[in-house]
Amino acid sequence: MASLSLRKINKRFGKVHVLHDLDLEIQDGEFVVFVGPSGCGKSTLLRLIAGLETISDGEMRIGDHIVNDLSPRERGIAMVFQSYALYPHMSVYKNMAFGLKIDGQNKQQIDQKIRDVASKLQLDSLLDRKPGQLSGGQRQRVAIGRAIVRDPKVFLFDEPLSNLDAALRLKMRIEIARLQKVLNTTTIYVTHDQVEAMTLADKIVVMNGGHIEQVGAPMELYNAPQNKFVAGFIGSPAMNFLVAGVSTDNNTNVITLANGQTLPTQQHLKHGTQLTLGIRPEHLSLYGAETDLAIEGQIESVERMGDITYIYFSMPGHDLITMAQQGDHQLPIGQIIRAYAKPEKIHLFDESGKAIKLS
């Protein structure tokens, strides 16, 4: 078990600058999820931590040791890959034993550890099989077992569930969460799926274009995204963005929506500033008070799930607005709809995308 710290980490592949000045602190025993769109550098960062790629610039510590120049084994990490990467010519048992043998542990010790982990993961009956004779979910468990048996200081997962079907993914997600709580080993988990991030993480690191956009607990990111990217990425369905501006009304600044509606603000915003107003689908409601933000549009599509209804309506100059309503609502397409939002649920972003407090 160990903490991990990154200082000004950079990675370049030749002239391509993939990671830019990343700083990150990970506590002992923490479950950290790197999330971001495809190609943002999550895997690269994980491979830097693993020691599979060299760090171009910066300093990395695991525990008290600078590990920049250490091999993966010396770093004491274990990794689970997206393709599972089981050795196809070795039985499940030998797959798990491979790393232990290299460590020079004796046969009995190895056997003890493997049987122990196998029973934890219900792999007992599979130990003699080759990976080719296993289902996707079983391979996944073997890959996790192979990592656990090493008793590493840090677990690294690179999109481990993306090759599984939806039902199995849910099951494995719960399994991984449970295992991590039991083992209490520092874990870094890469995914592009924000649902996995929200459900698994103690701490989420949102990445975009080789930069860290925000680091925080899931609910922190949900409630107080620091910028428009995080706001749009965390939460499902994604946040709606409305065009807004700043105008002066009786010597006080007010935020003006495209439909002429105004919202009071105490911020000193310059007249004429362009703003983006963000509101989550689940914070829009069919009913509201006089003081609420109200927007209007024409219903384009309705998705009824039974427990929840997604209503998509169009407003000129905007992408489709999504509204999520609890329960079943039968609404005719083409109808004009009015949606309300409580002022305290509204997020505001300046021209550069940075969040500003409304009050």
């Binding site: 091999s71 084994r73 393709s83 990467a85 089981l86 196809p88 290299i102």
Partner: protein, 306 residues
């Protein structure tokens, strides 16, 4: 029966071109050769059916069999050199070429493969010049680095000629196993190698315990292709040593032995029927080798889904 469908003529039309070409150029000549080996040619030019007499003569008549067994044994040595030298070097080169971040890998690959594209006649002639004791560059070259006493007329001595020819052939064709093995090495997923690195495996261990077991099917294929090639070889011996495969038949292999039997050489007359017998025996030897490979070796080799 009105519902009975018509004979599927279109299938025949699709099969026919391939069938005709294969029959005309492969199956028929082969069968005709085998058939011819069952005859003897009288001095009058008349052919008489003689059953397996030619085979008996080839394998036991001292006049013929001595040369045959010599050629067969030489051919095995020729093959052995390829298996022990060409294929390991091919494997080594492929392993080096497939290393991540090797600069100029494409250039090396091309350069090593180029000799394969040259005519065997050119290669044979070139090496003859290089190794010649009279005007070759080797004697002077060895002398200039102080190893002048090491020089021998390798192509002219009975105990070195075959080995030298085999090594020339290795030099020319090492690119083929290299390419085949290289292709199967780069097909191994990167994540698998990464997993082994995370497990703490050194490059050596990754090669021996991960990569090598996964390319065994290719190594088997390379070996059987080498076997077929070697037991059909003829051109290099002929280009360098002529029909007599000297000195004193020390470089004679089945291909050159067949040539002499069929067409004759110097004083001895050729015999089409005995030639057909040698050709059939060569075919049977190769067939046996390939069958042993398919039914014994390949069944024990596992091809893993990567």
């Amino acid at each position: 029966m009105a519902s009975r469908s018509r004979f599927p003529w279109h299938i025949l039309v699709f099969i026919l071109p391939g069938f005709i070409i294969y029959t005309l150029f492969s199956a028929w000549p082969l069968l005709d050769t085998m058939f011819l080996s069952l005859f003897k040619q009288a001095s009058s030019g008349e052919r008489v059916f003689s059953g397996l007499a030619n085979y008996q003569e080839l394998l036991s008549d001292p006049h013929l069999s001595e040369g045959f067994w010599n050629a067969l044994w030489n051919n095995f040595k020729f093959f052995l050199v390829h298996v022990l030298v060409q294929n390991p070097i091919g494997l080594l080169l492929a392993a080096l070429l497939s290393l991540k971040g090797l600069h100029g890998a494409k250039t090396y690959r091309t350069l090593i493969f180029i000799p394969t594209l040259l005519s065997v006649v050119v290669i044979g002639f070139t090496w003859q010049l290089i190794l010649s004791p009279l005007w070759g560059i080797t004697p002077n070259f060895l002398k200039s680095i102080g190893l002048g006493t090491w020089f021998q007329p390798w192509l002219g001595q009975e105990h070195t000629a075959l080995l030298t020819l085999a090594l020339i052939s290795v030099w020319q064709f090492v690119g083929v196993p290299m390419m085949l093995i290289y292709a199967s090495l780069i097909a191994i997923p990167d994540e698998l190698i990464d997993a082994a690195r995370v497990d703490g495996a050194s490059a050596m261990r990754i090669f021996w315990q991960i990569k090598l077991p996964l390319i065994v099917p290719t190594l088997g294929l390379v070996t059987i292709l080498t076997f077929i090639g070697n037991f059909n070889a003829f051109d290099l011996i002929y280009a360098v040593k002529g029909v007599l495969a000297g000195p004193n038949f020390s470089t004679d292999i089945l291909g050159s032995y067949f040539y002499r039997t069929f067409f004759g050489a110097q004083s001895s007359l050729g015999s089409p029927t005995m030639g057909a017998t040698v050709a059939t025996v060569m075919f049977l030897i190769i067939l046996m080798g390939v069958m042993i490979y398919f039914y014994v070796v390949q069944r024990r080799i596992h091809r893993y889904q990567l």
